[in-house]
């Protein structure tokens, strides 16, 4: 028995009604689409985060036995924490655009009527999410391995958030440049590390008094936070300005 034909979309129902019209997809829609795809793919495949976390925890173990110390403070603690996070981040930065390069995602995105800065913003947001997730795991491990008190952790989280933002912006820029090179695994860290020297100075400068013996101090804390914020602003603006050229032919 056949009933009335059900209403369903036909392939002749073209989504574009007006021929010749140029419709640019809103950047927010493009941003959420790309970010959602990246996070979904990472949750499904776990290609970056577990490697980053394992690298960081292993590095803490090496520092603990290499330095033969059960407690760290001041500049040494700040250096151990930041350098470990930075090197672990490089693993994620190297993989940030791999799906786009290997699976043609760059072309698919370049064919879409979107502002390319949405791709930069989405990739930087994805990297920022990876870094924050990484730190949720490794900062408690760092505290267990090296800290006598957890009083410094709340302000430390603020410093790491600002530092992560700058690292995400710089890392996304460098990763997009390096991804089409055969030597991308070498190129990304070699170009990235000099660029993040100011960020590293500011991050460790802000972390040092927080991790001082006797509890957190705030000597020049505001100045270092302002430096971190300025670095973030500069590299977010640079990324916004130049990313379009980086992904073009």
């Amino acid at each position: 028995m056949s009933g009335a034909p059900s209403e369903q979309a036909s392939i002749s129902d073209s989504p574009r009604r007006e021929r010749g019209a140029t419709a640019i997809t809103p950047s927010r829609a493009a941003f959420t689409a790309i970010l959602g795809r990246d996070l979904r793919a990472e949750l499904r495949t776990l290609q970056s985060l577990p490697a980053m976390a394992l690298f960081a925890v292993t590095t803490f173990v090496i520092f603990r036995f290499g330095l033969d110390r059960t407690s760290l403070s001041g500049g040494l603690a700040a250096g151990v924490l930041w350098v470990t996070v930075l090197f672990a981040a490089i693993l994620g930065i190297n993989r940030l655009f791999v799906a786009e390069r290997e699976e043609g995602g760059f072309d698919a995105i370049r064919l879409a009527p979107i502002d390319r800065s949405a791709l930069f913003a989405a990739k930087a947001a994805a990297l920022l999410a990876y870094l924050l997730a990484l730190e949720l795991v490794v900062v408690p491990v760092f505290a267990v391995f090296f800290l006598d008190s957890t009083a410094a952790l709340p302000p430390l989280a603020l410093v790491l958030l600002l530092a992560d933002l700058g690292l995400a912006a710089t890392g996304t820029l460098i990763s997009s440049m390096a991804v089409n090179s055969r030597a991308r695994d070498l190129l990304a860290p070699l170009v990235l590390l000099p660029l993040v020297v100011p960020l590293s100075i500011a991050a460790t400068g802000a972390l040092e008094p927080l991790l001082a013996v006797g509890g957190p101090g705030y000597h020049r804390f505001g100045a270092w936070l302002a430096t971190l914020g300025l670095y973030d602003l500069i590299f977010l603006l640079v990324g916004y300005a130049v990313f379009d050229f980086l992904v073009e032919d």
């Binding site: 392939i11 989504p15 010749g20 140029t22 997809t25 795809r37 793919a41 499904r44 043609g104 064919l111």
Partner: protein
């Protein structure tokens, strides 16, 4: 008749090698241009220039009225490109890939879902739509790639060997989406002139470099 494509003295170099040189062609809206030529003659390069994915080194290129590369943004979103790669993420399912593409092209909600459902049904992929692309055969990926290519209702189809990896059934189903007719404007790159020439309004033969 409106010109969909106008090429004047198109040239594209890769280093010292000229992949394309002195290409002149025009294609009116609703017509099919078949591009023939041996391997290495620049067929794929030509298609990628028309798709705004490559910049011409010299010459004048207009696609859908937009001068390339300066006005490429006017043409993007109005072109459907089917290249050698399916341009699909392997870790997403077929339906997730099409949803992602739909959002990049500004399609949302029920409109996008209805369009995706109709395309998957037309190409015979409804039952495989939830499988990850990595688990699909090359032929199934090509069917999905064809859905991706026409998802946004492009005015111009750029098709590089669209029958690649398709079986006889797949080729027939694909004709409904990317075949001649319904006023489609198409540039068709092929190594199978016997099949393509009957569909051609114009032919562009590229010589080996």
């Amino acid at each position: 008749m409106t010109e969909a494509i106008e090429l004047r003295g198109l040239r594209r170099d890769f280093g010292d090698h000229a992949a394309l040189a002195g290409i002149d062609a025009t294609l009116a809206a609703g017509e099919t241009l078949v591009v023939l030529g041996p391997n290495g003659s620049g067929k794929t390069t030509l298609l990628r220039i028309l798709a705004t994915l490559l910049r011409p080194s010299e010459g004048e290129v207009r696609v859908l009225g937009a001068r390339l590369p300066a006005e490429a943004w006017k043409a993007r979103g109005r072109i459907g490109f089917l290249g050698h790669e399916p341009l699909l993420y392997r870790d997403l399912s077929g339906r997730e890939n099409l949803r992602f593409q739909a959002r990049l092209h500004g399609m949302r909600g029920e409109t996008a879902e209805a369009r995706i459902g109709a395309l998957l049904a037309t190409i015979g992929m409804e039952r495989r739509a939830e499988q990850r692309v990595a688990e699909l055969s090359a032929g199934m990926r090509q069917r999905l790639a064809i859905c991706r290519c026409v998802l946004h209702g492009p005015e111009l189809l750029l098709l590089d060997e669209p029958d690649s990896n398709l079986d006889a059934e797949g080729r027939e189903l694909a004709r409904e989406l990317i075949g001649p007719g319904e006023g489609r404007t198409r540039v068709l790159v092929t190594h199978d002139p016997e099949r393509a020439l009957p569909e051609a309004d114009q032919i562009l033969r590229l010589a080996s470099k």
